[in-house]
């Protein structure tokens, strides 16, 4: 039985310590946050503040040295590599600053990739990929283009469509506008806002204060600790 009122992301006293030679670096030093379903959260912080480490924790890409991370009420500390992969696959859509599309695949194939790992049939995943590209506002004439034949904004739209492919409850964006001009960046943020209003939890990690205006909640992080 699932508790209907659990937060979608929950961190309890999370520490992440890197050891560099004899130095111990506290990337996260006792972070406790909880993010509710349907929220639009901005995690703000300058570089080196620990915000990327926090993003990796939420994205099931890294595990804490101590403390507890729960995504969709699943405790990550008990999972192995493939277990974490499964959580990612079903719960989290990643949007990266560098877009990170697979260069050998066309736009539509890039969107199909997460569905392949989820075992969807070829016909079904093609249909869904088109639907997602529409949702991400990519003109469909670009569907058969390779990433290097598209503009940054178009690539980010493909990446968003890919993130949406398995219909995850959480979209996790790492500096999504960082490689885009202001106008395109605004459009991408508007798109994320739209997706949020249709029920998806959106978490944006950034150092850009301008992105704050799109979110409901802001979490500021500094020197590995939440300051606000």
């Amino acid at each position: 039985m699932q508790d209907l009122h659990h937060p979608i992301v929950e961190l309890q006293d999370v520490k992440r310590i890197y050891t560099l030679g004899t130095n111990r670096i506290y990337a996260l030093n006792g972070v406790s946050i909880s993010i509710e379903k349907g929220d639009f959260v901005t995690i703000m912080g300058s570089s080196g503040s620990g915000k990327s480490t926090l993003l990796n924790m939420i994205g099931c890409l890294d595990l804490p040295t101590s403390g507890k991370v729960k995504v969709n009420n699943v405790d990550l500390s008990r999972l192995d590599d493939d277990g974490l992969t499964a959580i990612r696959r079903n719960n989290i859509g990643f949007i990266f600053q560098q877009f990170n599309l697979i260069p050998t695949l066309t736009a539509i194939e890039n969107v199909e990739i997460p569905m392949i790992f989820n075992g969807a049939s070829p016909a079904k995943r093609r249909k869904k990929a088109i639907e997602m590209l529409k949702k991400a506002d990519l003109p469909l004439e670009f569907a058969e283009h390779k990433p290097n034949e598209m503009s940054g904004g178009q690539q980010q739209r493909v990446a968003i469509a890919r993130a949406l492919a398995n219909e995850p409850p959480i979209l996790l964006a790492d500096e999504p506008t960082g490689n885009l001009d202001t106008r395109t960046g605004q459009n991408i943020m508007k798109l994320l806002k739209e997706l949020n209003s249709s029920g998806t939890t959106v978490i944006v990690v950034t150092h850009d204060p301008k992105l704050e205006e799109y979110s409901h909640t802001t979490i500021r992080i500094q020197d590995g600790e939440v300051v606000e």
């Binding site: 499964a86 990612r88 697979i102 790992f117 070829p122």
Partner: protein
């Protein structure tokens, strides 16, 4: 669905296959170089195998019908196989026939194109009925018992330019040739091709002093599987006290020939497999390079939900594709190349199209595929174990 429809459908619908194909194309020069390694390896292994096999076939072919015969000859120090010993052999089971042979060598003079030539022949005293079990007639007929007629082997007839009806002279005695035998090739029992066969009466007339016994006894066994038993039984009956006869199973020759040529084939293929080993290392190298280059892609794949197994599958499929394509090319080139060599050099392609030669081609083919899979295994394993976070950070 038939396999012929299934495979293309798999390639169409399977994104792993599609990815593997495109990744191989992405570094086409490197892929081709790696493939050439495998192609050379496959060609080396299978052509060395075919070479060994053809050698074996050409040698064993030159030995006439051997296998079901035993040769019983006097042991060193003994002059003859005696009548009593022949009787003892007759008592052994599993024997189809026992053929006592008396023989002597003779030089025949012949004048050909104004030059005198000397021809060595073996003169045999073998019963007419027994002779029919050992040889076949090319033309004419067999001699009648008691007559002064004879039949001669093919090379005797050829060298002396004899046709049935003519006479040959041995020790001032003239024998009428009534039949000429078919060419049989090298044997272990009697020298058919250079033989002169006549009746016992005539033989006695030619060599009146020889009546002590037989020079050898040819034993034809009923069942070749029982040949070792027959040998043992003959040895037991005759050689119980003293070593009086030597029993020689002709199939032991083919067996040891088989052994020799298997070793030669294995040795040659061993040389060939070195090149495949080198090819395997180059596959390993190529795949390892592309794993490094694609580190970030692997990270992305893992971030969007690829499990270790998915990544492993992708890279192994790539190695498999490379292996199958290169091995197929290697196999085709081997068959084509060997055919050309055999047409141009040996002028006989029959050895190539045997089952055993094709076996070596298949062996090369599968070794080629296995090599690329083995070479691809470590890089694929390495890729699958990459931590998504480290992989994503990789630039």
């Amino acid at each position: 669905m038939k396999l012929t429809e299934k495979v293309p459908a798999f390639l169409r619908n399977n994104m792993y296959a599609e990815l593997a194909k495109r990744n191989l194309k992405r570094q086409s020069v490197r892929t081709i170089l790696a493939a050439i390694g495998i192609i050379i390896g496959v060609i080396a292994i299978s052509s060395m195998g075919i070479l060994g096999n053809s050698l074996k076939l050409s040698v064993t072919d030159s030995f006439a019908d051997i296998g079901d015969k035993l040769i019983v000859s006097p042991a060193p120090g003994e002059d003859y196989v005696t009548d009593r010993q022949v009787d003892q052999i007759n008592k052994v089971g599993n024997i189809e026939s026992v053929i006592p042979v008396i023989a002597d060598g003779e030089m025949i003079e012949h004048r050909k194109d104004g030059i005198d030539i000397l021809l060595y022949v073996s003169v045999y005293d073998i019963e007419k009925d027994d002779l029919e079990k050992l040889v076949e007639l090319e033309e004419g007929r067999y001699f009648k018992p008691g007559s002064t007629d004879c039949v001669v082997g093919s090379s005797v007839a050829e060298n002396l330019e004899i046709t049935p009806g003519q006479k040959i002279e041995i020790d001032d005695t003239k024998l009428r040739v009534v039949g000429i035998l078919k060419e049989r090739g090298l044997g272990f029992d009697i020298n058919t091709d250079s033989g002169v066969f006549t009746s016992s009466e005539m033989y006695e007339k030619l060599y009146p002093d020889e009546d002590e016994g037989y020079d050898q006894v040819i034993v034809i066994v009923e069942d070749i599987e029982e040949i070792d038993k027959v040998v043992d039984e003959i040895e037991e009956r005759i050689n119980k006290k003293d070593e009086l006869v030597t029993v020689f199973a002709t199939n032991s020759i083919t067996e040891s020939l088989d052994d020799v040529f298997s070793s030669i084939s294995l040795f040659l293929m061993g040389i060939g497999s070195i090149s495949l080993l080198v090819a395997g290392v180059s596959i390993l190298n190529v795949m390892l390079m592309s794993t490094m280059e694609r580190t970030k892609e692997i990270g992305i794949m893992k971030a969007v939900g690829a499990s270790r197994k998915d990544i492993l599958k992708m890279f192994l499929l790539e190695a498999l594709f490379l292996g199958v394509i290169a091995s197929t090319a290697g196999a085709i080139l081997t068959i084509g190349g060997s055919y050309l060599v055999m047409v141009l050099v040996v002028k006989n392609t029959s050895y190539l199209l045997t089952l055993s030669s094709m076996f070596y081609v298949m062996e090369g083919f599968f070794f080629g595929i296995a090599t690329s899979l083995v070479g691809g295994m470590y890089p694929a394993w390495k890729a699958s174990r990459m931590k998504p976070l480290d992989a994503l950070r990789y630039e």
